[in-house]
């Protein structure tokens, strides 16, 4: 018998089943899609871009075979571990759906038969998420932003503030100059002084020596004079680190989500709004290191709330849009100085507003808010039927008209009516298309 053949396969290419996985994903696309859509409802606006554990129904990814039904007909079942049964005992059958079918099917994975659970990678999740938002394949974000400036090193300069002195360069210049101009060193001076002191210490000086000492004194005087005349460090030697201010993208962004939560905003409307907020968050996330999200809801009065309350609590009351704008303005002044923060606003509403409030909104936006905001997107959520009625962008509610007017004078103000998820992306597309053209 030959020696066994041991083969080390650990370094073989990995991910051999990737092809199978892709085939499976394609197969289960419809189900996965549905689950992804559902999961969006449960996610926070800011955690859309993680992977997801999903479970999908096995319908459509089943592998049918001809096999006997678990019940029906006459059959013998055999079990282990008899305790108190005797031949002839009668045992009532468990109720429907009970655990009667211990034998064949209820293996450890049997319970998972109806729900199939697995993990989507981040990419797979985003693919699914983007699919019906109709994003183009490649969205290069080049968002416009307020720049803060940050100094970058840019060579050396002969002038500058003392804190920026480049010691190395300065000393090198000084050293060269001192050599060139033959500036006596402190060692030279010390040597000469020492010789004079030595002579002075003696009492029996010859006339020649006296002459010599006078000569030395003169030399010392000259040397000192020379040292004074040629400075150790001349202003001419000085070199400073030079800085240039480069515009630096501001790494902080704050995103305001404004939403009308009066009774007319139902489950569907809030859902669409949530997707709208999510996608703006996605774009911002690619750009900024830190994003804060502020939720402001309003009925006839506005308040800042947490995300949970924002999407899921119900409110009653009228609708005064300007209250939300005022609230936002206050928050900006309190916490987000526009010099440090890029401010983005996304507003969703069904278009209802207290009559006469629209003018107030225009006023607020024109004078106060728009100068502060990078981008302001407003979506009006309609149902499909209304969508047909409002084909013409000129027509619409007072709020719509008002916002159109604002949009006309501010290029970074976008308005859009949406009735389904597919309508959301164009709100952003125009903005990005414009930026790309500029850039």
């Amino acid at each position: 018998m030959a020696m066994p053949h041991f083969i080390d396969r650990r370094l073989n290419p990995k991910q051999k089943s990737l092809g199978n996985r892709q085939r499976f994903m394609r197969r289960a696309r419809a189900q996965i899609k549905e689950v992804v859509n559902k999961s969006i409802r449960e996610r926070n606006v800011s955690d859309i871009s993680n992977g997801e554990t999903i479970s999908i129904p096995t319908k459509g990814i089943g592998e049918p075979r001809f096999h006997h039904a678990p019940t029906g007909g006459r059959r013998d079942r055999i079990f282990t571990g008899n305790k108190e049964f005797n031949a002839g005992d009668r045992i009532p059958k468990p109720a429907e759906g009970g655990q009667g079918e211990g034998g064949k099917k209820a293996t450890d994975r049997g319970e998972g038969e109806d729900e199939f659970q697995f993990v989507l990678s981040r990419e797979e999740f985003l693919d699914m998420f983007f699919e019906d938002l109709e994003l183009p394949d490649l969205v290069k974000t080049s968002l416009k932003e307020v720049c803060s400036y940050k100094p970058h090193r840019a060579g050396f300069a002969s002038s500058g503030s003392p804190t920026n002195i480049n010691v190395l360069r300065t000393m090198r210049n000084s050293f060269g100059r001192r050599i060139a101009l033959k500036r006596p060193t402190s060692g030279d001076e010390d040597g000469l002084t020492q010789r004079i002191l030595d002579l002075e210490a003696r009492s029996d000086l010859t006339p020649d020596e006296r002459l010599w000492m006078a000569e030395l004194h003169k030399q010392l005087e000259e040397l000192k004079c020379r040292r004074r005349a040629i400075p150790y460090v001349d202003p001419f030697d000085l070199r400073y680190n030079r800085y240039e201010n480069h515009p630096e993208p501001n790494t902080n962004a704050v995103m305001f989500c404004l939403m009308d939560v009066s009774g007319s905003m139902g489950e569907r409307e809030k859902d669409l709004a949530k997707r709208f907020f999510m996608i703006l968050h996605m774009f911002l996330k690619r750009r900024y290191e830190r994003i804060e999200v502020v939720f402001v809801r309003h009925t006839h009065e506005a308040q800042e709330v947490d995300e949970e309350t924002f999407f899921y609590s119900r409110e009653t009351g009228g609708t005064v849009v300007s209250s939300a704008l005022k609230e936002m303005l206050e928050i900006v002044h309190d916490r987000y100085p526009p010099g440090e923060w890029n401010i983005y606003t996304a507003q969703a509403s069904d278009g209802d507003n207290f009559s006469g409030d629209a003018e107030k909104c225009i006023e607020l936006l024109d004078t106060a808010l728009m100068p502060l905001c990078q981008y302001y997107a407003y979506v009006e959520i309609l149902d499909e039927r209304e969508m047909e009625l409002f084909q013409d962008p000129e027509k619409g509610t007072a709020l719509w008209q008002a916002y159109r007017a604002v949009g006309a004078s501010w290029p970074n103000f976008e308005t859009k009516r949406i009735a389904g998820p597919g309508d959301i992306y164009p709100v952003f597309r125009e903005l990005f298309a414009k930026q790309a053209a500029d850039g």
Binding site: I7, S17, P64, G73, I78, R109
Partner: protein, 533 residues
């Protein structure tokens, strides 16, 4: 072989005399190729010279846990073609593994020559030893010697054939789109269980030749293809009625109806399939056939491997070759493999084939060596014969689960496992306990347990009985129902749709009671189409 053994013996002895501690094949839990090789030799020594096993040459491959997941989500075959269902299995297994619901299999072994077994890199040396004894000798011996494997599988050719199949499927995907290939494979997989000739004839075994033949067939077709022939008028249309009748009779005989091998029938006779689609059916059929013996020998195959590993590990330990820790670890793992919960335990999921197989084989050994009067009565041929090795090897070679249980399940094992039998009649509100582990019950329990491993009873009997080629070409299937046991309806209808796809015309299925010939149900793909509208 004898030479190798002779060479080793003095070595071991001298080692033993000089330094008693160094007799251990390995210390600690880490393995190296060196300790693996040494341990393999020691295992082989016992397997061949003590147990007298007869095995294919071994090829042991070390793989990572990810590769292990890969391998067993593709039905344990290293080279299987790509299909979404393997991806599905992979994500499920990976999920179970990552969440810690299920451990990974320690090994996978392939019925091929050389016999390939996979060992996991993260296993300890003790586990590697256990796995080598289990797979490389236990399963290997069973594969090589059991009559079903000899008759139904071609261990020489399987790897080449899989390689061919994989390339062929990939080429088809390239040529005809993944979706088109998937459609055929899905349908073929649905019929995989009905792709063997159970009753009629044994298969041709040479897979390598088959792959070669298919290549030639295709080349010939491509060379001789001439589209002009298609434009010639067919003479079937203007045939005389009597003539046509005769032709149908002839054709029916030629179709050899009834036919139990549904895949074969469709492959050969479907009016709509292209040659490459037929070849795909052929591939699935071959793979189904390859697994056919495994389905019928779960208890025996696992029992044999478990018996072998337990014997070998004990021998190694007795010889002082295994450190105590390693032996304890191996025993711990062994006992969790053969764990059999009671029927009312939450963990109960039917009878554990490892437990049943090992219990029966250990009992055969006991009967041979120290029989009781009861054994003398039940097993006169083997009781007290002393030759347990020969008896077991004979059983491993010549039985499958059903006949093995029927032949060898002893009252002792029935008592130990406390087996009992429930009659379940769907018209009754109660189960009836018909037999338990007592004098009166033994034979019935044994018969029922044997039957529960009979593929003929587990898998529905469905055959093609008629094709009305003259009229609507509807394919008629008959399900012969035993004891009124119906098919699971949802999957039944799905499978019928798959058959329709392969056949190209409507498909009907009639359920007939085996004992009364009464028609119990009738379904057709036409009904399903109506519902969809």
């Amino acid at each position: 072989m004898a030479e190798a053994a002779a060479k080793r013996a003095p070595e071991m002895e001298s080692g033993g005399v000089a330094e008693p501690e160094s007799r251990h094949l390995f210390e600690g839990s880490n393995w190296t190729f060196d300790t693996m090789g040494r341990t393999y030799d020691a295992i082989q020594e016992i397997a061949l010279n003590d147990l007298g096993l007869d095995v294919y040459p071994n090829q042991i491959e070390i793989i990572s846990s990810e590769q292990m997941l890969d391998a067993y989500s593709s039905i344990g075959m290293p080279l299987i073609y790509q299909h979404w269902s393997y991806g599905k299995r992979f994500v499920r297994e990976a999920q179970m593994y990552q969440k810690g619901y299920a451990g990974l299999a320690y090994e996978i072994v392939i019925n091929s020559n050389p016999c390939i077994s996979y060992n996991m890199e993260d296993s300890t040396m003790a586990m590697q030893a256990l796995v080598m004894a289990h797979a490389a000798f236990g399963h290997n011996h069973f594969f090589k010697n059991n009559y079903l494997f000899q008759q139904w599988t071609d261990a020489e050719g399987i790897l080449d054939y899989l390689e061919f199949a994989k390339r062929y499927v990939a080429k088809c995907e390239e040529r005809h789109s993944t979706a088109a290939v998937e459609e055929i494979l899905d349908a073929a997989h649905a019929l995989m269980d009905h792709g063997v000739f159970r009753y009629r004839r044994r298969p041709k075994l040479n897979l390598r030749e088959q792959a070669e033949r298919e290549r030639e067939r295709r080349q010939y077709q491509e060379r001789t293809f001439n589209d002009l022939w298609r434009t010639l008028p067919r003479n079937g249309a203007d045939m005389q009625p009597e003539q046509a009748d005769v032709e149908i009779e002839e054709r029916k005989t030629r179709l050899k109806l009834p036919e139990e091998n549904l895949l074969y029938f469709l492959e050969k006779n479907s009016p709509v399939l292209e040659p490459w689609q037929r070849e795909l059916l052929h591939i699935v059929r071959n793979i189904g056939q390859y697994f056919y013996p495994q389905k019928q020998t779960k208890v025996m195959n696992e029992g044999c491997a478990t018996f072998v590993h337990l014997y070998i590990m004990n021998q190694l330990y007795d010889k002082g070759l295994l450190p105590e820790g390693a032996m304890l670890e191996a025993l711990h793992s062994h006992s969790s493999v053969i764990f059999q919960p009671d029927f009312n335990d939450k963990r109960y999921s039917g009878i554990n084939p490892y437990a049943l197989g090992l219990a029966m084989m250990e009992d055969i050994k006991r009967i041979c060596v120290e029989p009781t009067p009861e054994d003398e009565e039940w097993f006169p041929e083997i009781a007290g014969s002393g030759d347990w090795r020969g008896t077991l090897k004979d059983a491993w070679a010549n039985y499958r689960d059903e006949s093995f249980i029927q032949q060898y399940l002893s009252p002792n094992v029935i008592r130990k496992m406390k087996l009992f039998l429930l009659a379940d009649d769907s018209t009754d509100t109660h189960f009836t306990v018909t037999d338990i582990h007592d004098e009166r019950g033994f034979r019935n329990v044994r018969r029922a347990l044997a039957r529960s491993y009979d593929l003929g009873a587990i898998e529905p009997d469905i055959q093609i009985v008629d094709v009305d080629l003259r009229g609507d070409r509807k394919l008629r299937l008959q399900h012969t129902m035993r004891d009124g046991v119906p098919l699971s309806e949802r999957s039944r209808d799905e499978v019928l749709k798959h058959i329709r796809r392969l056949w190209g015309y409507e498909v009907g299925l009639v359920g007939v009671e085996a004992d009364t010939d009464k028609t119990s149900y009738e379904v057709s793909t036409e009904d399903a189409a109506d519902e969809d509208d």
